[in-house]
Assembly symmetry: C2
Homo-oligomer: 175 residues x 2
């Protein structure tokens, strides 16, 4: 039985291959997933061609200290917010020297939910130098484990979509 | 089927409970495990009482940039060495504000092994403020996945042993 689910490590394998092909180094910044995204990416043998580093900023003070997320933004909008997700992604980019960074912040549960921010609410953000960070909002169903697992899948998909868009752009540029 | 093996998340649960009891915040610095240790710790609901943050310093430049591991040490002793493991643990402590930090660097394979540093060679280090970092050397058998999984188990055990030693000390002090 592999340590991590094969559906996720298979997807991570595709991400590493695509990123390597495009010469892009990836960084991650994870709150509720706690390192699961980077675990999946580094499960791929030879992933050092495309994975640079990850920040597991579980505590709010770590989001500020390691990624430079403004404490005011956390106070005003909450750690689980579009603003903080984007600041985490941009901070990971700036503090790592990577070409692209994916960030995640969410309420994995079972505690910590509210009417405004229910268990399962997750924001993902993807940042690349020279462009504004993209932000996506999800509400995943299930247990803490289900929410974390769904989030990893969505994060890998977000990176892959961006790499493939780039490929489309490259192909058009060749026409 | 849970995302992470229950033997590891059960052990992580004990670590979080013990650390919480002792008021200790934990940081991680992971190379070959790529975030698996922090994934297991944060799989525990309520782990924010004892888990502060993690650094996934997969690339050598990330070990230097994020943790302050001297580039000279990596050149002279190699990224997989007792010296670098200890520098990672001490760097994680200094850069996070945590009370204790566990670091891991190893050759997970299947490539990257040599006569001196075979696949499966792993160094773990545990740092706490006010004491010298402890370093442990292992050679784990099996696949890349086996080596990573065994390393997570050893890292959790190393933290737990330290927390329990502390408990023994506390009990003796009470006598």
């Amino acid at each position: 039985m592999p340590t991590l689910p094969t559906d996720l490590t298979d997807m991570a394998n595709v991400v590493i291959n695509e990123a390597t092909k495009h010469g892009k180094m990836i960084a991650t910044a994870e709150s509720c997933t706690g390192g699961l995204i980077s675990s999946c990416l580094t499960a791929v043998a030879g992933s050092s061609t495309a994975f640079l580093c990850g920040f597991v900023t579980y505590a709010n003070e770590a989001k500020t200290r390691l990624l430079g997320v403004p404490g005011d933004a956390i106070t005003e909008f909450g750690a689980v917010s579009d603003i903080v997700a984007a600041a985490m992604a941009e901070g990971a980019l700036a503090h790592s020297g990577a070409d692209m960074a994916v960030a995640v912040t969410g309420v994995a549960g079972p505690g910590g939910g509210s009417a405004d921010k229910p268990v399962g609410l997750v924001y993902l953000s993807l940042a690349e130098s020279g462009t504004d960070a993209v932000i996506k909002r999800y509400v995943f169903a299930g247990t803490r484990d289900d929410v974390r697992r769904s989030t990893v899948g969505a994060a890998l998909e977000l990176i892959l979509d961006r790499l493939r868009e780039r490929e489309d752009d490259d192909n058009q540029a060749d026409d």
